[in-house]
């Protein structure tokens, strides 16, 4: 029996290129209206500054009771927007969703915690915000405290809590929600490993008790462990749905389309804005014998070229490297420097014997005055590192994200005297 049926869901945002902050001043609107009243041409110019952006487009799906749905897709694919609509935080621009049963969503841990209130008071506050009745909270109070492990600090204001305690308390409350449908967004990304395991366990309990779960995560392992079905979103569209194993394989194969070199010949066609435009971003292995072959020993060079369109801009580059499942391995940045107009090239060398075998994703940011992100080229390059081993007879998957060669040795330090 379907508990959620969505028909033709779309969500449109108007992006205003002129304005820097999210909220606009009254003055802007008044002057725009005046412009529109008095000048036809102005009005058209004004229109061109606004851009429609469809965060979701024509989404249809139905979810049965007891389904555990994983939602995968890149940043900006519309996953969060869908969750926001399902949680009724915002409404869709078109379409309709019918939901049978009580729904609770967990988009953040500890929503509405007030720093001045004690742990005890916040349990009741947060519980009520998440939709629990006072009696329900009272019933599970001890379990919540126990799960979070904050007995000693119940009467301390949460502003004195460590961030770990804060998160644990937040999740503990949410874990004791009893909705028929539970929506969870990436909350597993917080807390230590031990706690993450606890959370996953709790979510498995939820799903095993026949309730419906909708789970968004970049952590494909977690999705595979928890969800029986998955949705794959790309650029605001639901492009595939079905068994989780099938979707995850499909997702991986689509993305694992290696892209080692991206370049644009003209400024007009290049991605960017009126301050910077990207010309080229590529990576190549140091040993050029076989262009496509990169294994764990191979040093990799990154080369990033962009046009600086503003005289004397203070710029630096910041590069993120992610695993395929979305965990950030590192973020490195260059020094900030002042550049005249023209082409700027940044290079970075990644040593060999550093990353483990697997697929990796690189993003590059152009930053102004060390604080303002001018342009962020997300998931710009994707590459694979092949496995290579010497003198081993074990061929299982080498664990970890990095595989450094450290000064790690064994030797005999004492001769056993044996007579």
């Amino acid at each position: 029996m379907p508990v959620i049926v969505a028909e033709n869901i779309s969500k449109k945002y108007i992006i205003d290129h002129q304005r820097k902050s999210g909220s606009s001043g009254l003055r802007d609107v008044v002057s725009e209206t005046v412009d529109k009243l008095f000048s036809r041409k102005e009005a058209q110019d004004d229109f061109s500054e606004k851009e429609e952006f469809w965060a979701l487009k024509d989404i249809n799906f139905s979810i049965d009771q007891g389904d555990r749905i994983g939602i995968v897709g890149h940043n900006g694919a519309g996953k969060s927007t869908l969750l926001k609509i399902l949680s009724r935080i915002t409404e869709p621009s078109t379409g309709q969703i019918k939901i049978e049963g009580r729904i609770a969503s967990l988009l953040e841990v500890g929503t509405g915690f007030h720093p001045e209130l004690t742990g005890r008071e916040n349990i009741f506050l947060n519980g009520a915000i998440l939709g629990m009745a006072k009696s329900e909270i009272r019933e599970s109070f001890d379990a919540i405290v126990d799960f979070a492990g904050v007995e000693k600090f119940l009467d301390t204001p949460v502003k004195r809590y460590s961030s770990g305690m804060y998160v644990r308390l937040g999740f503990a409350i949410a874990a004791h929600l009893n909705p028929e449908i539970l929506i969870v967004d990436e909350v597993l990304a917080v807390g230590d490993t031990e706690f993450q395991k606890k959370c996953l366990g709790k979510m498995r309990d939820v799903s095993e008790s026949g309730r419906t779960l909708i789970f968004v995560s970049h952590n494909l392992t977690a999705i595979q462990a928890l969800c029986n079905k998955s949705f794959y979103f790309e650029k605001g569209r639901l492009i595939d749905q079905g068994e989780t194993t099938h979707i995850v394989t499909n997702y991986l194969s689509k993305v694992s389309h290696k892209s080692l070199d991206k370049h644009w010949d003209t400024i007009e066609s290049a991605p960017g804005n009126d301050q910077v435009r990207v010309k080229r971003f590529k990576l190549f292995p140091e040993y050029q014998d076989d262009l496509n072959h990169i294994d764990v020993r191979t040093p990799i060079n990154f080369q990033f070229e962009f046009w600086n369109l503003v005289e004397g801009a203070n710029l630096n580059l910041s590069m993120h490297l992610y695993t395929f499942t979305g965990e950030c391995i590192f973020n490195v940045g260059t020094q900030s420097e002042s550049f005249p107009k023209g082409l700027v090239t940044g290079t970075c060398e990644l040593p060999g014997n550093f990353l483990n075998d697997g697929s990796y994703v690189v993003s590059m940011m152009i930053v102004k005055d060390t604080s303002t992100v001018l342009y962020n080229m997300e998931e710009a390059l994707v590459f694979d590192i092949e496995d290579y081993r010497e003198n081993v007879t074990w061929y299982g998957k080498w664990p970890g994200y990095i595989r450094p060669q450290l000064n790690f040795s064994i030797r005999q330090t004492e001769h056993v005297v044996n007579d």
Binding site: V29, E91, P92, Q96, I99, G101, T111
Partner: protein
């Protein structure tokens, strides 16, 4: 499982069970109100004493300025300080509530962007603090009255009616500004100014009898707050205080109409607050 509960989400339409939903969330309303009150004086030396001190100090200053410095006449037989005190009590209640309602959505933006509940809960819960302050100010008034050789009149039993009317009016104005405030932060700048102007335009520091028989009296009375302040004063000080009961009709009709219009506006916009915050 619990009784089936169906929700329909669609463009432009808050679902039909809105008021039922609001009722189901009454515990949250209570908890949010309690939060605002209990958080108010955390980490202050004097703590709750502030809620007595603050209105008391404001009133002392006002009474001094208006009765000894400005020397405005009161209604015959009514001690001037009591007239100002009564006016200030209800005006402060209105202006605090109005300001808190107008800011309620923005102040709770962390909730708006992460969790659903009928958004009307935020303005509703934000009046709690103002109401507690009002009760304290009223208590101070009652305690002070004998010092001016005056007795509280029996009409005090009508006070709940005027309190309700004040609440309705502040919701009427506040909801409208709360919605605008989400979209245009200018409103936040405008509100303190409006309150300041209101204080002088309305019969807070002078009796409404001053306006009697002037050419603009009928327009003046159109402002629901004129009726509310006059009526509230009449409740506390009795017949000696000038109040024209006729003006009550227009006060009630106007404040209800404003509330209904604001509610419609609020309901239409509340599902997209998050897109502008």
């Amino acid at each position: 499982m619990a009784a089936q509960h169906t929700t329909t989400i669609k463009a432009g339409g808050s679902e039909k069970d809105y008021w039922k939903d609001l009722w189901l969330h009454r515990q949250l309303l209570w908890i949010l109100s309690k939060r605002d009150i209990s958080v108010r004086y955390k980490q202050t030396l004097l703590g709750v004493a502030w809620s007595v001190l603050r209105p008391f100090m404001t009133m002392t200053v006002m009474v001094f300025v208006f009765s000894y410095v400005a020397k405005i006449d009161s209604d015959p037989g009514v001690p001037y300080p009591l007239m100002v005190l009564s006016g200030l009590t209800i005006w402060t209640f209105f202006s605090n509530t109005f300001q808190q309602i107008s800011n309620s959505i923005l102040l709770n933006s962390n909730l708006v962007s992460k969790v659903y509940f009928p958004r009307l809960l935020m303005p509703l819960s934000s009046i709690a603090v103002g109401f507690v302050d009002f009760l304290i100010a009223l208590g101070i008034f009652i305690v002070l009255t004998p010092f001016f050789d005056y007795t509280i009149s029996w009409q005090i039993i009508y006070i709940p009616f005027f309190v309700l009317l004040t609440f309705i009016t502040s919701m009427g104005f506040g909801l409208f500004f709360a919605v605008l405030n989400v979209r245009f932060r200018d409103i936040g700048q405008l509100i303190p100014f409006l309150i300041q102007v209101g204080m002088y335009v309305l019969p807070v520091a002078y009796p409404s009898s001053l306006v009697k028989d002037t050419w603009f009296e009928k327009y003046y009375n159109l402002n629901p707050l004129v009726g509310i302040i006059g009526g509230f004063r009449w409740c506390l000080l009795g017949e000696k205080s000038y109040f024209n009961p006729q003006s009550l009709y227009s006060t009630v009709i106007i404040s209800f109409s404003i509330l209904i219009l604001s509610l419609i506006y609020f309901r239409r916009k509340e599902n997209t607050f998050v897109d502008h915050i």
